[in-house]
């Protein structure tokens, strides 16, 4: 009984963390669920990329129950986050039994993602919108849209081929920079490639990771905050490498000024 309840609580915490929850929210939710399920002596320590939990065993001589989970960085799925939140609320209100809660968690973890075509369109449209918001004119907006398409294709393709995140970021940034620089030939003078590049790169920039890391730091979750901030720095470095690579090649071959 305790084993299954423990499995459910840790599984819910894992799903929350995987999908972009703050550390403190995952910890709170797990503690509330454990209390609702009557897990005796439940203690949990949550990090951005790990959960350590333990509870008393059942019966006087039983060994304590413990669970450790490693949570690698995956794609955020806010629908799953919401589903687990609803699950924990219903559980606390006494509307779910343990079996129903297990089924609900399995359903939440299997929620579908948007198809590749829709992600592609959203990425490209988002790039174009940011090209505009950062002060770009029609030329920059159109270029940002095209660069966004290329970048999403690279991300999708590399993701499917199992290429590492570091290399995907470098290639994505290099690809959309190359496209934005090549577009100089179409738009001529007055066109600012950097605005198109930054519009397209917004999809990949780790702004949210940086902000969430600082939120963790403000919440006094220092280790988790550090993990996120360093993650953001690594991604930023990769993007800058990709952009610089394309600029250097364009500079050497075509004489584009740096």
């Amino acid at each position: 009984m305790n084993d299954r309840a423990m499995e459910l609580v840790v599984g819910a915490g894992q799903t929350l963390l995987e999908n972009g929850s703050e550390v403190s929210r995952a910890q709170n939710t797990m503690e509330i669920m454990a209390r609702t399920l009557g897990i005796a002596g439940f203690h949990v320590y949550v990090l951005t990329n790990g959960i350590f939990a333990s509870a008393e065993g059942e019966g006087p001589d039983a060994a304590p129950v413990s669970a450790v989970r490693h949570i690698p960085r995956t794609r955020i799925h806010l629908g799953r986050l919401e589903a687990v939140n609803a699950l924990s609320r219903q559980l606390a209100a006494g509307q779910l039994t343990l079996e129903e809660a297990e089924a609900a968690l399995a359903r939440a973890r299997a929620m579908p993602v948007y198809g590749p075509r829709r992600s592609l369109l959203a990425g490209a449209l988002g790039s174009a919108c940011f090209g505009y918001l950062f002060g770009g004119g029609p030329a920059e907006v159109v270029t940002a849209f095209a660069a966004g398409v290329l970048e999403m294709l690279i991300v999708e393709g590399f993701g499917r081929a199992g290429v590492s995140k570091v290399f995907t970021d470098i290639a994505g940034a290099a690809g959309c920079t190359a496209l934005a620089l090549a577009a100089r030939g179409i738009w001529g003078a007055g066109y600012l490639p950097s605005q198109a590049i930054i519009g397209a790169l917004m999809v990949l920039t780790p702004g949210v990771a940086l902000t969430m890391g600082i939120r963790d730091l403000i919440n006094a979750d220092y280790l988790s905050g550090t993990i996120r901030v360093f993650d953001a720095l690594l991604v930023a470095g990769c993007l800058a490498c990709g952009v610089a690579l394309s600029y250097l090649v364009a500079n050497a071959l075509l004489g584009v000024p740096l």
Partner: protein, 162 residues
């Protein structure tokens, strides 16, 4: 004046679309798209008003913009019974210093030390301002909101199992 207003409306609309696009990237459920879009657009327009009309610096404007943004996200979270993170993650997208992070790393690579330091500090300030604004608004207690059963000092339910 009319021109300014029209520009603000266009910016608002584009910010809604941009936020929804990132909602798709974060796999937000479709029924929350409009709410996410509004959260993002309100933050962005307040930021624009602060920088363009108020002449404030980016970090200060971000701090001010984070306040109505988080308040709206909180309101949607209560109204839709959804976690506030759902609206915040999408809604802060127009404000996060993505461009700043990128330029900072880029200046580091091309060895522009002074620009690197200036951009890096501004980016960090903006991110801290945004996080602070969120923290301030999300920690204000609401009168109607009862906390779910406060945790006992030692979170151990009385004698269950044994």
């Amino acid at each position: 004046m009319i021109e300014e207003l029209a520009r603000a409306v266009v910016q608002f609309a584009v910010a809604i679309v941009a936020t929804i696009c990132f909602g798709v990237a974060f796999q937000a459920p479709r029924r929350h798209f409009v709410s996410c879009g509004l959260v993002g657009a309100v933050g962005w327009v307040v930021y624009l008003l602060c920088t363009d009309l108020g002449g404030l610096s980016a970090p200060v404007a971000t701090l001010i913009a984070a306040i109505p943004l988080t308040a709206l996200a909180r309101w949607f979270a209560i109204a839709h019974k959804a976690p506030i993170t759902l609206f915040l993650l999408c809604g802060i997208f127009p404000l996060v210093p993505g461009a700043g992070i990128y330029y900072t790393a880029y200046y580091l690579l091309i060895n522009a030390q002074a620009l690197f330091a200036a951009r890096g500090i501004e980016t960090l300030k903006t991110a801290v301002a945004l996080a602070l604004g969120i923290a301030i608004v999300s920690s204000i207690p609401l009168p109607g909101q009862r906390r779910r059963a406060p945790a006992p000092p030692d979170s151990r339910p009385p004698s269950s199992g044994t």
